[in-house]
């Protein structure tokens, strides 16, 4: 090892606490980068393989009922590579030892075999045998939620008929990687499952003998999806086709896409912040080091080290600190990626998940990190490169101070001498002070992001379930039913209120923009299902016209007063124009709402209902559920309370994990910034402070001069951090906006408080460490050294 290398290592050791503080910040950046990249890679890689090997289809269409012969005509459409027809039905499920309402999606399998498209991955057991009507394969998450094994039994109420089923296998499908009940906010594996059974018995139970109500297909190599969808829609329209969709609108696929996008955002935002702060800290430390080593640089140059060798020497120091951060970050990133992938494995059901840290990601991470480090220290390194040796022999000229703004404003008589020193010092290095404030602000901001989601979700739940969906149970009927059913429901003991529901699938069109959704009828003055305006005031549906979710209005580019063309996708398939009367604030899903009477007129079908909303006496809830379960007309029951509880439970774990990690990381930023600022200030001013001690200032007084500066930086950083945090949260919510949900930019005061407290705690900790150094300040040694 050369003497110059020894110098690097010894100085690294001398700077170890600062180096470590910086390395931790770098590690935060590397870890978040590697975590998001490797998780993204694992999910994408796995999805690609799963989609390919299990032949995930590209177009999906649902219809009311079409004869099987039509299948051949559909398959012959240009652009279709392979097509399968099938029967799909929703059913109420009865699971042993589980009394809450549960819904199943029943999908037909070609009798006795795996389909050609959207093939099942059998985790355990086997497919239903060809001639066994009662055998069923169930989705893995559902099986796990109820501890169901092959051989166990359950019952499904299909079209009002109860059927006993026996589980023969547990499977996963590329079509249902994400299993969420349409309209739900969150997956609930206990109350929603996918069941696959032979086509013959399912068709028989669902009046689909020799017919189908669902089509899936793959596209020929150069087919245009839009063309195929249009052709399919034309052929299916007479059979009650509700409009074919591509993968982009397929629920499971689009949730995955949204998640991937979020990971990409994460891979961009967090590493940028961390590495930016790290670059700043490296700059500060290195600039100070080079300033104190002017003479050593001059010596090296005087003895024939080239400018390049000298700057390389300092670059090595930077690279060592960076390397330490990289190593910590790689380990942390690998571990965090694992944790995150495991969290994801609960939401996204893949047969396998290939998680590993790719060398290419590691290389990319290293490249970005080293790039950031060198960019941050470029100025200081250039200083070392340029410093003329003769110049460097002379000590640095005394720093130029000037009266501060406060003094120029004439306020100095309110400030004691030490306070003036603090202000002058800060004002002398405005850029550095600003960057330190910014660093603290970002730490504060990241802390807010960590807690923001929790608060936002609580707000979403409050709006959704306390203000809008206030019912206890939502019942859907197997088909539009006369309003008499409402009286029957109201007569059930324990039912306190009943309101009708009417829903119809529609295609909304404005100019060239279209959107498929459900048009819901609301009761004017209703209490169980209400819609809210922008101010969260209850909005009564207008007698004429409709109201739209604000996000849908954006998608369709309509404003109140505009006219939409509405095409009903069932029954008589009427087309009319309707005026948009207002906008509805909704965070979950998108929809269009009308007065239920007006909707019935629009549909031209008389006063029918498709479902009912119930308010219950909580005591009697199991009895009501049991009664509904016995009713053949009831197709599905949704339990609002259960949805909230399961949501809370799942969310709590995810949120806690994330909040813990982000608190740790952001705390390290705050500590890194404050601690390094303190150490630099100590190094810059130890002579001055020691002189003051000699002049008779007490330890407390000189501590005040040094730590007061940090306190001021922190105090200025926190409010800026609130702004930064708001900005970051805003950026995240924009990235998260989809038809499924929009996370509102709601920041609870506890979120602000938490961030401020953690920043202050990190600042106090670093202040305390520096103060111990300050107390040990060796007056003689400090004053003896030549600056």
């Amino acid at each position: 090892m050369t003497a110059l290398h020894r110098k690097v290592w010894r100085e690294l050791w001398q700077l170890r606490s600062q180096a470590l503080a910086i390395a931790v910040v770098i590690a935060g950046g590397v870890a978040t980068l590697l975590m998001s990249l490797s998780t993204l890679e694992a999910l994408q890689q796995t999805r690609r393989a799963f989609y390919r090997d299990y032949r995930f289809t590209e177009v999906f269409a649902e219809l009311k009922r079409a004869p099987e012969e039509l299948g051949a005509a559909l398959a012959a459409l240009p652009g279709v590579q392979q097509l399968e027809t099938r029967v799909v039905a929703a059913a109420r499920l009865e699971i042993p030892d589980f009394t809450d309402p549960a819904t199943g999606l029943l999908i037909s399998l070609p009798d006795g075999r795996n389909p050609e498209l959207n093939r099942l991955f059998l985790r355990r057991g086997r497919l239903p045998a060809a001639d066994r009507d009662r055998e069923v394969v169930i989705s893995e998450s559902f099986a796990e939620a109820h501890h169901l094994q092959p051989g166990d039994g359950l019952a499904a109420v299909i079209n009002g008929r109860r059927q006993r089923l026996t589980v023969t296998g547990i499977a996963l499908s590329p079509e249902h990687v994400y299993q969420i009940k349409p309209g739900d906010l969150f997956p609930d594996a206990k109350r929603y499952g996918i069941l696959w059974l032979n086509r013959s018995p399912l068709a028989a139970a669902y009046d689909m003998d020799g017919a189908f109500n669902s089509v899936v297909l793959t596209l020929a190599r150069d087919a245009r999806e839009g063309d195929v969808i249009a052709a399919l829609d034309r052929l299916l329209a007479p059979y009650g086709g509700t409009g074919a969709i591509g993968r982009a609108d397929q629920v499971s696929h689009s949730y995955l896409e949204a998640e991937f996008q979020q990971l990409e955002t994460m891979a961009r935002v967090f590493p940028t912040i961390f590495l930016g702060v790290a670059a700043f800290l490296l700059h500060v430390v290195l600039a100070r080091l080079i300033a104190t080593q002017r003479e050593q640089i001059a010596i090296l140059k005087a003895f024939g080290y080239s400018r390049f060798q000298v700057s390389l020497h300092y670059t090595q120091l930077v690279l060592l600190m960076t390397g330490l951060g990289l190593a910590l970050g790689a380990v942390g990133g690998f571990w965090l990626g694992r944790v995150l992938s495991e969290l994801y494995a609960d939401f996204f059901r893949f047969p396998w998940l290939d998680y590993r840290l790719l060398p290419s990601h590691l290389a990319l991470g290293s490249l970005i990190t080293i790039g950031a480090a060198l960019l941050g220290t470029f100025g200081a390194l250039r200083q070392a490169y340029r410093l003329p040796p003769a110049e460097a022999m002379r000590p640095e000229p005394p720093a130029r101070y000037r009266p501060t703004l406060v003094e120029r404003l004439g306020l100095q008589r309110h400030l004691a001498q030490p306070s003036r020193m603090i202000l002058r010092h800060l004002e002398r290095r405005p850029v550095k002070s600003l960057l330190a404030i910014l660093g603290i602000a970002f730490a504060c901001g990241i802390l807010m992001v960590g807690n923001f989601q929790q608060g936002a979700v609580r707000h979403m739940l409050a709006v959704q379930f306390d203000l809008a969906q206030r019912y206890d149970l939502a019942v859907t009927f197997t088909e539009p039913t006369s309003r008499r059913v409402l009286h029957e429901l109201a007569a059930l003991p324990g039912v306190q209120a009943v309101e009708p529901q009417r829903q119809a699938p529609v295609l909304l069109r404005h100019g060239h923009r279209t959107f498929r959704t459900g048009l819901q009828g609301l009761v004017r003055g209703g209490d169980l299902r209400r819609v809210l305006d922008e101010q969260f005031e209850v909005l009564d549906p207008p007698r004429q016209g409709l109201v739209l979710t604000d996000f849908l209005a954006e998608l369709l580019a309509v404003q109140p007063g505009d006219t939409l063309s509405v095409e009903v996708l069932e029954g008589r398939r009427r087309r009319t124009s309707v005026v948009v009367e207002g906008l509805v604030r909704e965070y979950v899903g998108v929809g269009a709402y009308m007065d239920i009477e007006a909707l019935n007129r629009l549909l031209g079908e008389g006063p029918a209902v498709t479902g009912a909303l119930l308010a219950l006496d909580p005591e009697q809830r199991p009895a009501v559920v049991a009664a509904l379960n016995r009713s053949p007309r009831v197709a599905g029951i949704t339990d609002r309370l259960a949805a909230i509880l399961s949501f809370d439970e799942t969310m709590a774990r995810t949120v806690l994990t994330f909040a813990f990690i982000s608190t740790l990381l952001a705390g390290s930023i705050a500590f890194g910034v404050v601690y390094n600022s303190a150490r630099i200030a100590l190094s810059e001013r130890s002579r001055e402070l020691a002189s003051l001690r000699v002049l008779g200032f007490s330890r407390a007084e000189i501590s005040y001069i040094l730590l007061g500066e940090l306190a001021l930086l922190t105090a200025l950083g926190i409010p800026c951090g609130f702004l930064v945090g708001r900005g970051l949260c805003w950026y995240l919510t924009v990235g998260l906006r989809s038809d499924f949900y929009r996370v509102p930019l709601v920041l609870e005061s506890s979120t602000y408080a938490f961030a401020a407290v953690v920043v202050m705690a990190s600042a106090l900790l670093s202040g305390w460490i520096v103060r111990r150094r300050l107390h040990r300040l060796d007056l003689v040694a400090v004053l003896k050294t030549r600056e």
Binding site: A3, A302, F303, Y305, S306, R307, M393
Partner: protein, 244 residues
């Protein structure tokens, strides 16, 4: 007698400075540190540079050593014009031909005595081992001490060991005894004398101390950026006889 101690044939001129000027500009003010210096330094000569503070001694030494560039004029060393040389050539020049000793020792605090010397020998062409250099200055017992563990005189001797270890053609010393008491100063001067004698190293020593001039071959007096007088010292004394 000027010509008796050397003849035109056997004297090799190591340095030849011609019409050197150096002007520092500080905003509006111009400081003329050097106002036209002509100087020749033959191989093996021991020169003492005397002059009041601010007369331009350090400036001249820095320019001779390739640490600084003059505003005008030429410095020829071994046939090379240092003024026209690029950064790379200057670096080579300093690396192989020049040794510096500074008033404030300027050791690297994070390196031991041995390492402070090694840092120079590692890049030189034909250096002596750092241990030998330190033995020469009488510090064989202090090889692994850090600068903070050495006295001022010891530190200065390490600085000298560092400067001579590469066997430089010229040794440039800017007030090497300035911070030392007379006794320690003599020890340091003895080392310089010995190097000059044993290796034939051309040596330039800046000092405020006229006593030191007694050990020189030639004494150059600087005043206000000009050479005021050059005296040849007919009665060269060994360093050990000096005291002040």
């Amino acid at each position: 007698m000027a010509s008796s101690s050397r003849t035109a044939d056997d004297t090799e001129i190591v340095f030849r400075a011609q019409a050197l000027t150096k002007v520092y500009r500080m905003g509006e003010v111009e400081v003329h540190a050097l106002r036209g210096i002509d100087l020749e330094l033959p191989r093996g000569e021991f020169v003492v540079l005397l002059g009041p503070s601010g007369s331009g001694k350090s400036t001249l030494l820095n320019i001779l050593g390739g640490l600084d560039t003059p505003t005008s004029g030429q410095v020829i060393c071994g046939g090379r014009n240092l003024v026209a040389a690029g950064e790379r050539e200057l670096t080579e020049f300093r690396r192989h031909l020049v040794g510096f000793v500074f008033q404030f020792y300027n050791l690297i605090p994070s390196l031991t005595a041995r390492e402070n010397v090694a840092i120079v020998t590692e890049i030189a062409r034909d250096p002596m081992p750092p241990e030998d250099a330190l033995t020469l200055v009488g510090l064989a017992e202090r090889l692994d001490h850090f600068p903070s563990q050495l006295s001022g005189g010891e530190q200065q001797r390490v600085a000298i060991a560092r400067a001579i270890a590469k066997r430089p053609a010229v040794l440039l010393c800017d007030e090497p005894t300035g911070a030392l008491d007379s006794q320690t100063g003599v020890v340091v001067l003895e080392v310089l004398e010995r190097i000059n004698r044993e290796f034939g190293t051309t040596t330039v020593v800046i000092t405020h101390n006229a006593d030191i001039a007694r050990m020189a071959d030639r004494v150059i007096h600087l005043g206000d950026g000009r050479i005021s007088t050059i005296e040849r010292n007919p009665d060269k004394r060994p360093a050990r006889e000096l005291s002040w």
